[in-house]
Symmetry: C2
Subunit: 329 residues, 2 copies
């Protein structure tokens, strides 16, 4: 029940601990072929596995990265998290993950926890909020002050390299595309006002409409998830509105469900569009018009940004995808 240490291996191979370390775990020093071989055999026989935290302590350089998301069960974050873990694995890194449940306090707490774990980098995935940024930023700075690397997926508000989706541009392009389909009166399920992603998409969409000379849309706030979309669409006055834009796909799904319950046909009576192009939603009926974000790429990019010393923020393009949910016959 005791765990095998490097000393055990060294003793069995009849060498010093230093030699065993050099033979097994690499070093700029070379080890004689005979000894190296006997060390390796001893290690294999004992089933030795180096104690990585101890190794990290000695080398003062670990191989774990931290990942902080809002909600792992939300497919948006799930896809990104999956991409991050795979990319990390490819680089021989392992990832520690935390879900904040969209609570900014817990996000701060996680950064502190990851600093305590002495992770090499932390990835903050998800929209920034208008409020509490100050303390989060302090915590992030403290972490970076100790040599920790940080990257974001969302908005570049923390002064760290960020993968920033083209929320404004994408929503704006979507507005143009929908106007091109002949829609004139819109409603927006705008999500929580403090969520910057939600604001960006809302204002991008408004700007697009304005550029088309179309009237102001009605905007209604709500939670950023399926139930938020459902609730907002359930209570919305839709007379005179021909198209509904939900600021993300899962809200759009909730909205479509609510509309169905109200007996409103989509897209016949009301067109609906979302944002994100969540892969697992592609078989929805009617197929959802949306703005595609390269979610998996974004996760990988974020890891690269965090690791690369010279990285700077990047915008990732968003592409309008017209499907059946906004079809006009």
């Amino acid at each position: 029940m005791r765990t095998v240490t490097l000393d055990d291996v060294a003793r069995r191979a009849g060498v010093s601990r230093a030699t065993a370390s050099r033979a097994l775990n690499g070093s700029n020093r070379t080890v004689g072929a005979a000894l190296r071989e006997s060390v390796e055999r001893a290690a294999a026989e004992l089933g030795y596995e180096p104690n990585l935290p101890a190794q990290a302590l000695a080398r003062s350089a670990g191989n774990v990265v931290g990942l902080v998301v809002h909600d792992l069960a939300d497919p948006y974050f799930a896809v990104i998290a999956d991409a991050v873990t795979r990319a990390a694995d490819r680089r021989g890194l392992v990832v520690m993950v935390g879900a904040t449940g969209r609570d900014p306090e817990r996000e701060i707490a996680y950064v502190a926890a990851l600093r305590a774990q002495r992770v090499r980098a932390v990835l903050l995935v998800g929209s920034r909020t208008t409020g509490t940024s100050r303390r989060l930023r302090d915590e992030v700075d403290r972490y970076r002050g100790t040599g920790g690397r940080v990257a974001c997926v969302g908005q570049d508000l923390l002064g760290v390299p960020t993968v920033a989706p083209a929320n404004h541009e994408g929503a704006r392009a979507l507005a143009h595309a929908l106007a091109g389909l002949g829609h004139r009166r819109f409603a927006i399920l705008g999500g929580p006002p403090e969520l910057i992603t939600a604001r960006e998409r809302t204002s991008g969409f408004r700007d697009g409409l304005a550029e088309q000379g179309l009237p102001e849309p009605v905007v209604v706030a709500g939670a950023f998830d399926r139930d938020g979309g459902h609730a907002a669409a359930a209570s919305l006055d839709l007379s005179a509105v021909s198209c509904l834009f939900a600021v993300n796909d899962v809200m759009a799904v909730g909205a479509v469900a609510a509309l169905r319950e109200r007996g409103i046909d989509v897209p016949g009576t009301l067109a609906v569009a979302g944002f994100d192009d969540i892969p697992s939603l592609r078989d929805l009926v009617p197929a959802l018009t949306t703005v595609r974000l390269p979610l998996a790429d974004m996760g990988e990019r974020a890891l690269e940004l965090a690791l690369d010393e010279t990285a700077v923020s990047v915008q990732v393009p968003a592409e309008v995808i017209l499907r059946d949910s906004t079809r006009r016959d």
Copy 2:
């Protein structure tokens, strides 16, 4: 850029490192009020955060658990992973996660990696396979031999406490329910034959049919994901079949999409059922008949099992949920 250590704090407070440790990080020894207070102030002023890996090394007891899933982007695993991280957080634990991409070799590699990280427990989530169990089991045993705790979600094949969903029973009950709806000729999208979960659900369903005196269903293999369901349903000969059972929900979704492409009405011409009751699929049209598994609970239970010395495997019940995708007018 240097990180603050306990020595720094001790020096600034004018006490020994031992006292600082006792004051900040707990101990069964008491520290005088005056000193304790000045240590705490020094720590706060310096922004000290204990080096957790070092602490774990000294205490030889860390606070990280490992989680190994097949595919984080798959909502089944995403929901479980989310539940695990929340439950871990509640207990002051942090989780290291790895996605194997359904490759048994990488699952083994992850267990080794987590052993090297000296995590306190590892959770293996996902169906066992018929093949490679041997080496995985060795690796698991080696880890347990060093005091590591292990739990599974899936099948109890590794000799560790397992959360085992009632796959056989659930599928059997589903078969009875569907037979009760008047269906007589069935097809099963059976997934990969080496996946035990897939086998259990297939055989449970067959048993249910047999008990009803119904003819043998046609069974077709395929991948365990959406595309697997799509491909299988696209090529299947469906004459004489009135109901299709896909061994999980995401396959069912793919199947429904393929059927739509073939111009086959669901449920009018063909009824479809799945398994799992993935929450994010609840707004599908037609709503999917399925067998509900308490996914989030299962994740939490698995963590409990891993941590509790006296834990034994548990079965979790599965509940048939009839919805529109098998409706008969």
